[in-house]
């Protein structure tokens, strides 16, 4: 059946050989086309592969290599003697690598959109680690496409179990990195997960750096916290020069000295495929650990101060807070500083549920995150009298040897009468030194009245008392090397007028109070209409509670209250420390500082932190001597306010007690008439080679001598002799 004789069409034309000149030409044409095409293809290939091949090799490399940052361990924060306050330690951890999950994680596939295959891994992992699988509210933010096609941050709050919640919370800023879901995992669980690798795709057992706090809650607010590099207000990074995925200092020294502590991230070069899935790794570039910060904190003093302050708080019921500051009055270095209640910052090493956070830092916690030593301002009571005395003497309105007859224990001016503290009777003829010794309120009311301006409208900034308060920089935030230090308040006629005007505008819904919005139970006002704001209605006089209406404005009574540190005057413990340091160092306002030097991890000094400048207040030596004498008498004189605490101390202590009436407008003691107990004491450089000024404040501590002074006494004892001493507190006749 095969062959020329076989079947098939046998028409004549089939038998005719098809080749003819016409076909030959056409075959030649097609052959030429083929030749030209091959030539073009070869030339193009030569160009692509031989001439520009290396360029394409480079492109192929950038295609596959991703830099995965390896965060640098943070530097340590050390006490003055080198004791570790914060340390970065490597701990075993369970990590989720989003790209090697059964379904690789993307911003859209997280949280509520977790693929079932990933959810199964999370569930198995939770069981293996003993973590909760019960869903609870989980807040996270992802970048999503909006209708216009641009990426916007979207906030979610579904109910999720612990692990998917942690993953979702990190999905937005993790591309090829890892997400830590558990740390300090027992060896047995690490081993179980390592051995059952196939059951846990996307789960890694590794080590992560965590901050360790060997001293627990000690000085927590000074050290500060570490967290994601995101500014909650602007949404941008907190530190612009640090990648968004890095952890940075959020508060305290961690924030202030972040650029030293941060270190430089290393990176691993990870090879990926087109889907961004992990294919392998090349030699990593190790991170450079952050440098250490050596502080001026004296560990022993810090411990004693914290312990004694806690004891003092416990003595008055334990529901309140307090703070202490110990500073070198000559150069401003902070020897100890504390705020109670405190917390152990290691709590932030593990993700907190909202419930845990509320319990730790919520409304009834006493606000442990607040650094009361630098961030709280309030009336400081009689401790303010040194400023009053300085102002009176320096302005020439009182002479060092001038006497005043406190005949009745009461001082009246234009019908307003103010009395000495309860229990303090009439003291008769006294000079300013004696007035300081016994903290005679009537004497200082008199000074306040003397220094009051005749016409508050022509002198809106007040008189000598306001001028000297300003010179002591009560109205400015101290330049300490810690963030968010608060400025105090100096009451002036203008200040009172502004408050009255604000009350009137608020009640009438005008000026900056024209529109309002309620955020979290708090009123927010705006002068211009803004989104969410509504027009403020007209309300009865005095509705807003900024000032009483009708209000006579600035009166002599305001100045008298200010003279004894009451009323509207507000000072932070740190500011008061600076005031007393000036008394101790000959009249200089120092810049307080905690940081001493930057050291490499091996201890070499990288940089000495230069303390800020000190300002000469230009107080005449005679006047200063007069006040110092008064302060010395107050701590050691026969009728000194804290003689019964400090009188027996071997070194010359200069001190002043203070008790301030205060009604907090927020916090757990809102609306309760509270007596702030203050104590400011120093041992000047003339008496010792290690001068120190100490301020102690106990919220609702009652009389300063009874509650705050003993804390200072124990701190002085620790500072000079290295141990605390037992001593008996008597009851001073004067407060």
């Amino acid at each position: 059946m095969i062959g020329p004789a076989g079947g098939g069409p046998t028409r004549v034309d089939d038998r005719v050989g098809p080749m003819n000149p016409q076909l030959a030409v056409r075959v030649a044409i097609v052959g030429s086309i083929a030749l030209v095409m091959f030539a073009v293809i070869f030339l193009r290939l030569w160009f692509l592969q031989v001439l520009s091949g290396s360029q394409y090799v480079a492109q192929a490399k950038t295609n596959i290599v991703r830099r995965v940052p390896v965060p640098a361990p943070r530097g340590s924060i050390l006490a003055a003697n080198g004791a570790v306050l914060v340390n970065s330690v490597k701990v075993p951890a369970i990590l989720v690598a989003p790209q090697t999950l059964p379904v690789p994680l993307t911003a859209t596939l997280a949280g509520v959109n977790d693929p079932p295959a990933d959810q199964r891994v999370y569930r198995r992992l939770a069981v293996a680690l003993g973590m909760s699988t019960r869903p609870s509210t989980c807040r996270y933010t992802l970048s999503v496409d909006n209708a216009a096609g641009t990426l916007v941050a979207a906030h979610f709050a579904p109910k999720l179990a612990a692990i998917p919640c942690i993953v979702a919370q990190h999905a937005a800023d993790i591309t090829l990195g890892t997400i830590t879901v558990a740390t300090d995992v027992p060896v047995a669980e690490q081993a179980y997960i390592s051995e059952h690798e196939t059951e846990f795709p996307g789960v890694e057992v590794s080590q992560v750096s965590l901050s360790e706090y060997p001293q627990g809650a000690l000085a927590a607010q000074i050290l500060g916290t570490v967290g994601a590099n995101a500014n909650s207000a602007t949404g941008g990074p907190l530190f612009g020069n640090v990648p968004a995925y890095d952890e940075v200092g959020q508060t305290g020294l961690e924030f202030q000295y972040n650029r030293y502590l941060q270190g430089h991230d290393g990176y691993a070069r990870v090879e990926v495929n087109a889907q961004g899935q992990y294919q392998g790794e090349t030699t990593p570039v190790p991170p450079t650990p952050g440098d250490n910060l050596r502080t001026s904190i004296n560990l022993g003093l810090e411990q004693v101060g914290t312990r004694e302050l806690q004891a003092a708080i416990n003595n008055v019921g334990g529901n309140y807070g307090g703070a202490f500051v110990a500073m070198n009055p000559v150069n401003g270095q902070i020897d100890a500083m504390g705020s109670l209640p405190s917390y152990n910052p290691s709590i932030f090493n593990h993700p907190l549920t909202q419930q845990q956070y509320d319990q730790q830092f919520g409304a009834n916690s006493g606000d442990p995150l607040l650094d009361r030593a630098i961030q709280s301002v309030g009336p400081v009571g009689s401790t303010y009298k040194v400023i009053t005395a300085t102002a009176a003497l320096q302005s020439g309105q009182w002479q060092p040897n001038e006497t005043f007859d406190d005949a009745t224990g009461q001082f009246c001016v234009s019908g307003q009468c103010l009395s000495n503290a309860p229990g303090d009777g009439a003291l008769g003829n006294i000079n300013i030194e004696q007035a300081i010794e016994v903290s005679d309120d009537v004497f200082f009311y008199h000074l306040g009245a003397l220094m009051n301006v005749q016409n508050p409208f022509t002198q809106p900034q007040g008189g000598a008392l306001q001028a000297w308060s300003k010179r002591f920089q009560i109205n400015r935030a101290p330049g300490i090397d810690l963030p968010y230090a608060a400025a105090g308040t100096i009451p002036t006629p203008a200040f009172v007028e502004d408050r009255i005007k604000a009350e009137e505008q608020c009640d009438a819904g005008t000026g900056p109070y024209r529109y309002y919005e309620v955020v979290g139970g708090q009123y927010q006002f705006s002068a211009t209409p803004a989104k969410g704001y509504v027009k403020t209605p007209v309300r009865p006089q005095g509705y807003c509670g900024i000032a009483l209406l009708p209000n006579p404005g600035w009166t002599v009574g305001d100045n008298m209250h200010m003279a004894i540190g009451q009323g509207d005057v507000q000072v932070s413990p740190l500011q008061l420390t600076m005031v007393y340091a000036a008394m101790a160092n000959g009249g200089y306002l120092v810049t307080p500082h905690v940081g001493e030097q930057i050291e490499t991890p091996s201890g070499q000094v990288v940089e000495k932190i230069s303390p800020g400048p000190r300002t000469n207040l230009h107080i005449s030596p005679v006047n200063l001597q007069t006040i110092d004498t008064g302060l010395r008498l107050a701590a050691s004189g026969p009728i000194g306010t804290s003689t019964n605490v400090m009188g027996s101390f071997p070194l010359p202590v200069y001190a002043k007690t203070g008790t301030a009436d205060y009604i907090p407008t927020s916090g757990p003691n809102k609306g309760v008439d509270t007596a702030y107990a203050w104590y400011a004491a120093y041992v000047p450089p003339s008496a010792t080679s290690k001068p120190i000024v100490i301020v102690v404040w106990v919220e609702d501590g009652g009389y300063g001598d009874a509650t705050a002074a003993p804390v200072a006494r124990e701190m002085l004892s620790q500072w000079f002799y290295g141990h605390t001493s037992s001593f008996t507190i008597g009851t001073s006749a004067f407060h």
Partner: protein, 395 residues
């Protein structure tokens, strides 16, 4: 051949039959087997990313080679009789797929267990068989050039449009090319050829430029994008511009191959799945990445050999039908090779045309081997018809 029994035959007959049995074009076979061997090598190199492809392709190649040998044993001339049946089957097969479940959003396949039958691929052969036969018929009436042209074009365009609708623009264009090729080799006048050229330009302008302007979109957006992207490729591809991405990644893969290739492990563009469909339409990119200029040159040489043999066989055919069959197959092969390779190296539009014998795919490999079998049949018949003359032709 079952009748062959050496014991019963006389010696001269045996010699004659034996010689006849080994008649085939060895160079054509070398080219085809060499190419499918290269395909298997490339697929084996990327077995991690495309697991199981190499063994399936080997199976298709084995079946294809057997089919090729079987087909080459038959006299192709008999197929002329079945021209209308072949054409009917062609249209039918390309209609059936529309009733089949879509695979990857396309109605191109008739699913069988183990194998998805791609109608349009087999249709290429059916079209060649039927068009060549019709052309032979029409060539007896040389005065009716325009009518022949129109009829042939219409016969090619109907299935072509069916295929383009599946959608498979590349194979549809193969149909048109085959139609024009057979007309060209069938001796249609230059006037008519010029007319076809004019029509092609007109159609292209209408479809790509005028049509969309008046709201008639013959091509899908992505198809148009594919056709035009290569002319002016953007430096940075748009997020949803998969054509641009494909082209760019393919170029990087080929370029990165340099002179001798990056080897199996080094070819990150392929192993990392950066080049889409590196197993099929972009297999030349994979070849370039693995074996560099050297490998690409070798494969191109095999294609040159294949095309040269097709041209040679066309010229030596014993009758016009053989010439036109070979001409149709030549048109198909040239179009696919140049368009596919040209697309991969960025000098041709992106059309989904497989690279014959190199691209992974059962239908494509099988059809190409059947076409080679037909070429062999034309060759064998020519040799048998012209006796000793063929030996001269061979060289």
């Amino acid at each position: 051949m079952s009748s062959i029994s050496p014991l019963r035959l006389t010696e001269p007959v045996t010699r004659q039959r034996a010689r006849r049995a080994i008649i085939f074009d060895p160079l054509l076979l070398i080219a085809a087997v060499g190419l499918v061997g290269c395909s298997l090598m490339v697929l084996r190199d990327m077995r991690v990313s495309y697991p199981g492809y190499v063994s399936k392709q080997a199976l298709y190649a084995g079946v294809g080679i057997v089919a090729c040998m079987l087909v080459s044993r038959f006299d192709y001339s008999r197929l002329r009789e079945y021209r209308y049946a072949a054409y009917g089957l062609l249209v039918l097969l390309n209609l059936i797929v529309y009733a089949m479940p879509a695979i990857q959003n396309a109605h191109r396949w008739i699913p069988f267990p183990l194998f998805n039958f791609q109608s349009s691929e087999f249709g290429k052969l059916l079209l060649i068989l039927s068009l060549a036969a019709v052309m032979v018929e029409r060539s007896r009436r040389p005065q009716s050039g325009w009518r022949t042209t129109f009829r042939m074009l219409a016969m090619a365009l109907v299935p072509a449009l069916l295929v383009i609708g599946q959608p498979d623009l590349g194979t549809g264009l193969v149909y048109v090319t085959v139609g024009v090729g057979i007309l060209f080799f069938g001796g249609i006048g230059w006037k008519q050829l010029a007319g076809i050229g004019g029509l092609a330009v007109f159609a292209a302008v209408m479809v790509i430029a005028v049509g969309p302007a008046v709201g008639v979109n013959v091509l899908h957006g992505y198809q148009k994008q594919r056709l035009t992207t290569f002319i002016n490729p953007p430096k940075v591809c748009g997020q949803n511009d998969s054509t641009c991405y494909q082209l760019q990644q393919g170029l990087i893969a080929i370029g990165a191959g340099q002179k001798t290739g990056q080897g199996i492990k080094g070819a990150s563009q392929i192993q990392g799945l950066f080049v889409p469909v590196a197993d099929a339409d972009f297999v030349f990119a994979a070849l370039g990445d693995f074996y560099g200029f050297a490998g690409a040159a070798l494969v191109l040489s095999l294609y040159a050999l294949l095309i040269w043999r097709a041209i040679r066989i066309m010229t030596m055919a014993k009758n016009l039908y053989g010439t036109l069959l070979a001409g149709g197959i030549l048109s198909m092969l040239m179009f696919q090779v140049f368009v596919n390779v040209g697309m991969t190296i960025g000098i041709m539009p992106v059309t989904g045309v497989p690279l014959p014998l190199m691209s992974y795919g059962g239908s494509s490999v099988l059809v190409t081997f059947l076409a080679i079998g037909l070429l062999q049949s034309v060759y064998i018949q020519a040799r048998l018809a012209s006796g000793a003359k063929a030996r001269v032709l061979l060289v």
